[in-house]
Amino acid sequence: MTVTDDRPAAEIGKDRRRKEDRRLITGSSRYTDNIVLPGMLHLAMVRSPFAHAKITAIDTSEAKQASNVVAVYTAADLDESAGVLINAWPITPDQKAPVHAPLPADRVSFAGEIVAVVVARSAAAARDAAEMVDVDYDELPAALDLKDAVADKVLAHPDLGTNKSALWIFDSKEAGTGGDVEEAISAARSDGVVIEREFRQNRLIPAFMEPRSVVVDPTGEQLTMWSATQVPHIVRFALAATTGVPESKIRVIAPDVGGGFGGKLQVTPEEWLAWWIARQLHKPVKFTETRSESMMAAHHGRDQWQKLTLAATKEGKVTGLKVELTADLGSYVAIVGGGVPVLGAFMYNAIYKIPAYHFACQTVLTNKTWTDAYRGAGRPEATFAIERLMSDLADELGMDPFELREKNWIKHEEFPFTTVAGLEYDSGNYEAATASAKEFFGYDELRAEQARRRDSRDPVQLGIGISTFTEMCGLAPSRVLGSLDYGAGGWEHASVRMLATGKVEVVTGTSAHGQGHETAFSQIIADRLGVPFEDVEVLHGDTQVSVKGLDTYGSRSLVVGGEALVRAADKVVEKAKPVAAHLLEASVDDIEFSAGRFGVKGTDAGLSIQEVAGAVFSAHNLPDGMEPSIDAEATFDPINFNYPHGTHLCAVEVDTETGQIKMRKYTCVDDVGNIINPLIVEGQVHGGLAQGIAQALFEDAVFDERGTLVSGSFVDYLVPSAADLISFDAHHASTPATTNTLGTKGVGEAGTIASTPAVVNAVLDAVRQFGVKDIVMPCSPARVYAAIAAGRAVDTGSASEGADQ
């Protein structure tokens, strides 16, 4: 046996290039659409052009006779084994939700809903025949505008009798976590400040790069579904629960998946139809959506109205916050659609000590595309509201926006801190992140430039926006989910298998779709077991390999799944110890494990973990009665959420003649605890920022008065690219989380959550001087220019004055 002392350098904290990128960027990856099976048939969907209509007749005869067409199905053909699409989070016991069948029986309730499916021998033949399906509709009035819909002016689903799905309330007085918000507001009205606002959360389209795709193979003992999904385990469960196939007969594989952002945590009509049709025909089938289909039929995000009342003393101490939300569910209650705003309920108080809080959310059915989680899910909305309010309050009081925030935030020595929403924040240091962000940003210089531009009436004005965000992620403590009526737990599973050759196979129940788990998890295992990074193989996304898991969303994979991994690895070490002791002829108590090596205290004797793994594999010489395996698994259920935070500062130049916005600088200092791979974290932050900035400035899913998605292609739905963004100045502060071994916090959504209010606050900071109080997102040049013109008109009492005159 050789004793080496070249301890591997610490893997955690290393800028490892991502293992998965070689295959992803050289085209040697396997996306669902790349899968070709013998005899495979192709599906094409016939979709409703109407938002709300009665289907009076469907004539499939011509399509059925078209060449290479195998079958055409409509709702009349479906039976119980087609299943239904589930809502896993009924937020109240009396929540109203229409039944969501893969094909609606006789009434479509959004433009894009599938009414018939063509099955053909090629995708082109299926598409050609889909054009021949003749559907007669009787158009019905559609519930489109959210505010009209909540008033039940037109019903999205007439048989439900109302569009109101559920009313969910949290009240700090009732919960015993704080005072009475009405008292706080009336006190502030008589002796203090009350800020009242109504903000619009624009509707967003996740716009993942790989469109959704599904392949089903019904041959063999287990039925297999490949799907471009974030949630193979949940899809498997939902198929079993609704289509009558035992869970043990279902294998779901999420192969390489090209992005999701929440948009692929759905169970979809397309998947369910592929599943049912493959079973009907006993043939493999494939369906890959077009970009247009993706934009109109895959779920959308956000779409809320937020009515907000913030009470404070004249000195700037916040005394109460009241939130009244209206949230658009679209035409069906998606898998966690109703729960998204509820996730936000716990975050409106953010980093601040707010003594009284009331939150009420009304979810509403409309005849638009269904909505569900989109990067941040509930927390971006909450963060936007509070960070806008805090900047508005500072403006109202003539106070520095940082001073106001500091006056109200939780001081670093006050952790752990129980908030008015009832969460216990374990750690954080808002002072440190803020001080460092101000410095990197060059805050004072930019303020000086802002003053100069104001004084000289420069047509280009400068604005500075602040967002001191926090969020709750790492979904989720199962007990908390239970108390919120969520249909599942929030644990995660991992196993570690020591192979005979010394290589390590790690299986995680999380399901990466672009995040880089294979790399980050390899780094964790390399450190934990003291094995080379290259020797670790991370397996995921196949229910036959990853037998247990709850998948990837809500910035949970590292803080929940990573912790399960750490615990499984630690069990491997514990199991290996007696073997090492036996082989080294020492007592277990004298065995120490460090950097991959079992040593005997006070001696040079030792064995590497790979050597122990080899010995266990051969099993020639093990302690008496010992099972020949040191493999281990662990299931971790977090006891708390995880609370990353940070300070984001944005400077924009606003061209007051056109309303054009140009970003000047974006600095952020995020506290995401200990970092496994800085390069991956940087990538997550940059991408997250891009998406949050996009909500503020560019993206908007707009429907016309008949319910057609106007921004249904990338010509009109403006997704920014690198050319539209600046080089971000991203830094870190680190207060390790106390609720997981590695001290990590989630980073997947942080950038998106933090950036939207930073950008809008910056735009407003530039134009407040003209009397502008709000600009609806996305802050397009036209809107910014109109706001400036309107503000100036009020200022001067003339309606005609524009910037150009």
């Binding site: 995708a123 082109a124 598409r127 050609d128 056109t658 560019f698 707009v702 920014p720 050319a723 036209a782």
Partner: protein, 285 residues
Amino acid sequence: MIPAAFDYAAPATVEEALALLAEHGDDAKIIAGGQSLLPVLRLRLNAPEFVIDLGKIDRLRGVREDGDALVIGAMTTHSAVANDPLVAQHAALISKAVATVADAQVRNRGTFGGALAHADPAGDVGAPALALGAEFVIAGQGGATRTVDAADFFVDLFETAIGEDELLTEIRVPKHTGWGAHYEKFVRIAQQWSIVAVAAAVKAEGGTISEARVALTNMGSTPLRATAVEQALQGKPATEDAIREAVGAVADGTNPPTDLNGDADYRKHLAQVLTRRAVLTAAGG
């Protein structure tokens, strides 16, 4: 998405292409770079039975001088036009405008003639061609060739003077050697068609504008020449204030669209601001 099936031919000469057009009539469609036609086919907004590819006709490609004019072959790609030294020297306005079209991939496939024939009012090649008084050479059946002035070429939204059985072969641009030029394109994201854009070429001597050519993109159903503004600019000092005054009425009589990027009034306002900036930059200000 998958286009409906069609037959395809790639003739080697203009004559063969014209013969195919005559043969297939209404059912045929020309394809140049495909950057506008393919999206239309893929979305099944159109389903021609026969597609005639001009890609193999070498003589439709390239830029050459012909006396006082520059001749740009219809099949010259956007990137070839944008990088052509002759165009830069004699028609800088065109180089600058074409460089703002889409992204490098689209510019490498899309063609100058294809874009002009497509006549998207938000496209960026029409206004500079119009401003510089380009002439369009159109080949018809039986060896006929006619030349159409820019003023008559753009008929309406996606409609030009090219007949159903004709082909655009080349574009003749009068040389504007020594003129200052600028294309001011207003967009929200980099890869976007113009919300409004202004093409300006200015001949300035000793701080005075002696001649100006101005045309507007997306201020109506075709590119628009701002003749009144051109006249107002003539003889004015190349200063911001003088130009501001001269271009004040640029949006008069225009009929710009209203869409998600802004309404007609906003576009009219933009046209004023952008014209001032375009002219000022073109005049070297």
